[in-house]
Amino acid sequence: MISLTLHPIDIGAAINQVITPTSGGLNVFIGTTRNHSFAREVKLLEYEAYEPMALHTIEQIEREAREKWPIYGVAIVHRLGRVPVGEASVVIAVSAAHRNEAFEACRFLIDTLKREVPIWKREHFVDGTSEWSGAKPAKKAKLS
C-alpha cells in the first residue's frame, strides 16, 4: 500500500495492512511534526510533492527493499499539505518473519525516501515567517 494523502494518516490502518499470518515482526516508522527546528518555534509543516514521480519513486524503493530483505507487507503513506505539530507526515510499516529484517528494511525505506523521493517540506514558524526546509544554494544566492 503506497499513497499520498491530504488527510491525517490512519496509522492503525497502515499497520493492519501489513500484518500477514506469516509475519512475526513488524517495524513502523512514523515521522511527526515537531514544535521546533534549529531553535525556531514551528507552527506547522507544509508538504508538496511531484506526485506521480513521488509515487513511482516510492514504488522503486519498495522494490529495492524487497530485493534486499525477505519482507512480507509494506505500507508507505506520506501526507501532503499542512501538518500541525504532533501529527504524522509519514508512516512506513514493514512486516517480516523476523524482527531484524523488519527493522533493517524500515530503516532503509525511510532513509531512502528522505534522500530520493520528490517531496518538499515548508516550515511555517510561530513568528509568521516560513521557508523551505534546508533550502540553501551551493553558493549564497542573493534572493530578492
Binding site: Y47, Y50, V90, V117, W132, G134
Partner: protein, 81 residues
C-alpha cells in the same frame, strides 16, 4: 523540440512559475533546461549544483539527451519524511 518544464519548491519560487513549455534546440541535454532558467534568472546559477533533473519522472544525468515532448522536472534537495 519542445519539452514541458516543471518546477518545485524553491526552484518554483525562484522562477516564479510551476510549469512552462520550453522550446529547445535539437540535441538538447537535460542540463540545457538549467541554462534556460539561468538566462531567465541569474540566481539559478548558485543553485545549479544542488538541483537534480528528472525526465519523465526518472532522475537523469546532466548529459541525458532530451526528446520532443519530454516532461522535465527540476528537483531541488528533497525534504520529505
Amino acid at each position: 523540440m519542445k519539452v514541458r518544464l516543471k518546477l518545485f519548491s524553491v526552484a518554483r519560487d525562484l522562477a516564479g512559475f510551476h510549469e512552462l513549455e520550453v522550446e529547445l534546440e535539437q540535441k538538447a541535454r537535460a542540463s540545457s533546461v538549467l541554462d534556460v532558467l539561468v538566462q531567465r534568472n541569474p540566481h539559478f546559477k548558485d543553485w545549479k549544483p544542488s538541483l537534480r533533473i528528472a525526465v519523465n519522472q526518472e532522475y537523469v544525468h546532466a548529459d541525458h539527451a532530451l526528446r520532443d515532448g519530454d516532461e522535465v522536472a527540476i528537483i531541488p534537495p528533497v525534504s520529505g519524511g
